[in-house]
């Protein structure tokens, strides 16, 4: 049997904000997962990015004061939020140095944190918001089905 498939995304724009008070995404209790008393700042190179829903994990390798190295996992936006920003899997900038501000997980033995601010060393943001509605090729500024960006 012949079948066709289409992948598409709904334009959201600023509108849905006005129309609905969508219930908070309560499955993700930042306060339950991360320790408000354990703020951290990490500087390191991207070694891996896990493309998983509902949140990606950026792995960065940091160097401690004693010269030892550790890989930390930093939580970020969903894979398709990254795609909308032009950060496609095939152009993931492995080796890029990032500075991450966040809070460590409550289990302090895990080298994990949520990303509150993720920048390059000069302070520029790693995650820049999309133009248009955020949907790819929405007839506005963005063109090319979301392929435009830093790739």
């Amino acid at each position: 049997m012949r079948s066709r498939s289409v992948l598409c995304t709904a334009a959201v724009g600023a509108l849905a904000l006005v129309m609905y008070a969508v219930p908070a995404v309560a499955h993700h209790a930042f306060g339950a997962e991360f320790d408000a008393d354990a703020p951290i700042q990490l500087t390191g190179e991207i070694v891996k990015l896990e493309w998983v829903n509902p949140h990606s994990w950026i792995h960065i390798e940091i160097t401690n004061d004693d010269g030892s190295k550790e890989v930390w996992m930093v939580e970020g936006g969903t894979p398709n939020v990254l795609v909308r920003r032009g950060l496609r899997r095939e152009c993931l900038p492995i080796g890029t140095t990032l500075v991450v501000d966040g809070f460590q997980t409550k289990d302090l033995t895990l080298k994990r944190a949520n990303g509150r601010d993720v920048t390059f060393p000069d302070g520029r943001k790693f995650f820049l918001g999309s133009s248009g509605t955020g949907a790819p090729d929405d007839g506005a500024e963005q063109r090319g089905r979301g392929t435009e960006g830093r790739c």
């Binding site: 995304t9 334009a11 609905y20 008393d37 969903t78 943001k125 918001g129 790819p136 929405d138």
Partner: protein, 268 residues
Amino acid sequence: MLEGRAAARVERGARASDPDRAAPAVTGNTGGYNNVYIDRGKIVAIVDGQPRSSLLTTPPDGRIPAMSPMGEKRMEEYRAFRAQFGRYDNPETRPLGERCMMSFGSSAGPPMIPNNFYNNNYTIVQTADYVMIQTEMVHDTRIIRLGEPGRLPEHMRPWMGDSWGHWEGDVLVVETTNINPMQTFSRFPPSKDRKVTERFSRVDEETILYEFTIEDPAYSELWGGQIPFKAFDDLLYEYSCHEGNYALDNILRGARYQERQGNQPEQR
């Protein structure tokens, strides 16, 4: 005004940070979703070249109409029913998204309304007999049968209801009844007679115009809207909902802990 606010938000989020900043301060709060997690864009949706200030087009004021007297009565009854239970008494009173049962808001629908966070992405697979719509968040798949409807009996209420489609020229028209009463919409369950009609029109290579109409005697009039769906060259990623699985358990356990400490959990 909407776009101005949205553009200002994108601009604020893009502003460089101080490269010599310190780690975040201890304020007792880890923060929630911000620009790292959410990307809302900065313009409104455009249909037929027309920027839209609401996704709703029926009624013409772009607002959900008032409840009918029957709807008001049902809402009161629903509130009274919910008031018997504490907010964290049991899994059944937690939202479907939190329980990893269905999408947050009405992403899978019907109607398929984008949430304002992320993953408003669909894969539509079409055969001669069926159309399948998979919603990225939270892994919902609706199977629409094509042809003369053979409706389910009234008591059978599957997730996303009982959808039947037919072609009107190149337009796929889908009518859905038997919507599960737990699929609340604006925190309110649909009435048992709700019928949602959807129209999927391929307006160009890149765009499906999605239109929906809701007939529900709980409302004083029909309502519906138009949403452009745009082609997207990437994958839907699996939504395993692990965090929800853990969170639901921990939410209930936390409430029991508070009770043992003599503190009542917050009630709705």
